[in-house]
């Protein structure tokens, strides 16, 4: 058997398999939460089938952390957030160090605007990021390291409403995280 002569056919078959698996992985099966009750069986069945088909190669996808479901800038809703970073001295009020989109309070601007950092605090849609509190702890402690006068620091997100190319702050805050100065 001439293996070299058979290679093009084997390669074409492997490529077809890879494409098919990618399409199954990326198939847009709707989330059960956004599906009418009558379609639950259909959605659950499709999801089970996808899991079964992916099973032999699932570990490869997990190890390489790749999938074929792409969400390019999905979250562009009207209800968004802006980050606040504040510190407080032993006697005194909260001092605003950073507020997203506010050039008057732009401490740590480069750091907080960097894509990998923003990914850990800026909510995906309305959902909190899993790393939010770990990030909040790190940032508040860093702010206190940089500002020895602070005994307390906090970060929080203000809800903003976007409309016709401008945003309106609502004064409503969420995900407040405070850290007190830790003794070395």
């Amino acid at each position: 058997m001439d293996l070299r002569a058979r290679w093009p056919a084997a390669r074409a078959a492997l490529i077809a398999l890879a494409i098919a698996l990618g399409l199954v992985d990326g198939c847009p099966i709707p989330d059960r939460r956004f599906t009418p009750e009558w379609a639950y069986g259909l959605v659950d069945g499709a999801d089970r089938a996808r899991t079964a088909i992916r099973r032999p190669v699932a570990s490869l996808g997990e190890d390489l952390d790749v999938s074929q479901r792409w969400a390019l800038f999905r979250g562009a809703s009207r209800r968004r957030f802006r980050l606040y970073l504040e510190g407080k001295a032993a006697t005194g009020d909260w001092q605003l160090l950073h507020r997203a989109g506010d050039p008057e309070h732009a401490a740590y601007e480069d750091l907080l605007a960097y894509r990998r950092v923003r990914g850990t605090y800026s909510p995906s849609g309305q959902s909190t990021r899993n790393q939010y509190h770990a990030f909040a702890t790190w940032l508040t402690l860093r702010a206190m390291d940089d500002h020895p006068e602070f005994v307390l620091a906090r970060i929080r997100l203000e809800r903003v409403l976007i409309g016709e190319g401008a945003y309106t702050p609502t004064g409503e805050f969420t995900l407040e995280h405070q850290e007190r100065r830790r003794r070395k």
Binding site: R11, A16, L64, W70, A71, F73, A134, W138
Partner: protein, 314 residues
Amino acid sequence: MIRLGRAWIALWDRREPATALAAVRIAIAVVLLYDLTMVWRLDLIEPLWAMPPDGYATGGEGRWAARWLGTDAASAVALWSIAVVGLIAVATGTLTRVACVVVALVSAQLAHRAPDADRGIDDLIRVVLIVLALSRSHAVWSVDAWVLRRLGRPMPPEIPAWPRYLLFAQLIWVYFSGGHNKTGEEWGPAGGFTALANALADPHFARFDPAWVGPIYPLTRAATAATMAFELGAPLMLLFTYYAATADRPGRLRRWCNRLRLRWLWIGLGVSFHLGIALTLRLGIFPAAMLALYPVLLLPGEVDRLLRRLRPGG
């Protein structure tokens, strides 16, 4: 059926010059190197990829990098350094295939440590690196090719085209999947196509004060609709490219698509879309990394023509 099978085998057995894949290899490596340099410049290597108290990584335990290197600050620096050296090797085409695999594996470890810091574009770059590792993108513009030439075993001028075809299909799928995953009503007529205007006013993403968005609000709505048409229409690019590659064959639709230059229209929309994003939104390396893949959209003859034009006196 047999004819179809033979055509499928013949499609993936084609060969072409290595220039398009080599351009993608170099561009992707340079873009990711820039990104990792940013991490270093912002003093973020340890915060991003070390476990507390050194950083705020939250995952990766039990993975090979944690078993071999630990999860402390030194391990984060070690992984970052391996990625940087690997990317320099990918860009220069030095032990290219090994370097591509190493960078993809290290990038995955970094993703496990900081899942929220790993964006869709990092996911895509890992896929691209794996395909490049299987390709002969190092046949030109590489140290590997230079060494082999010196050893008297030069690489053939034409390489298998299938890795480029796969990257082409991947790019098309990224857009199409991105389109049908945009389920928010602001991306469609129900929400008045307001998504881009919303993004341009989002304090976490906007590059400029949003005051400029109001006067061009209707334009942003048209741009949102165009974005959706571009993404959901991405599979048509397969047809447009097939028609362009077989322009000498008959067919009214083929003639019509080629005459209207629909393929170039789609590519032009993509380039404008990414340049627009780069100019107005702070999305990091996303636009540059996507554009770094665009050479795979060109036909082999077009890449060579472009290169000839770019040469001095060309």
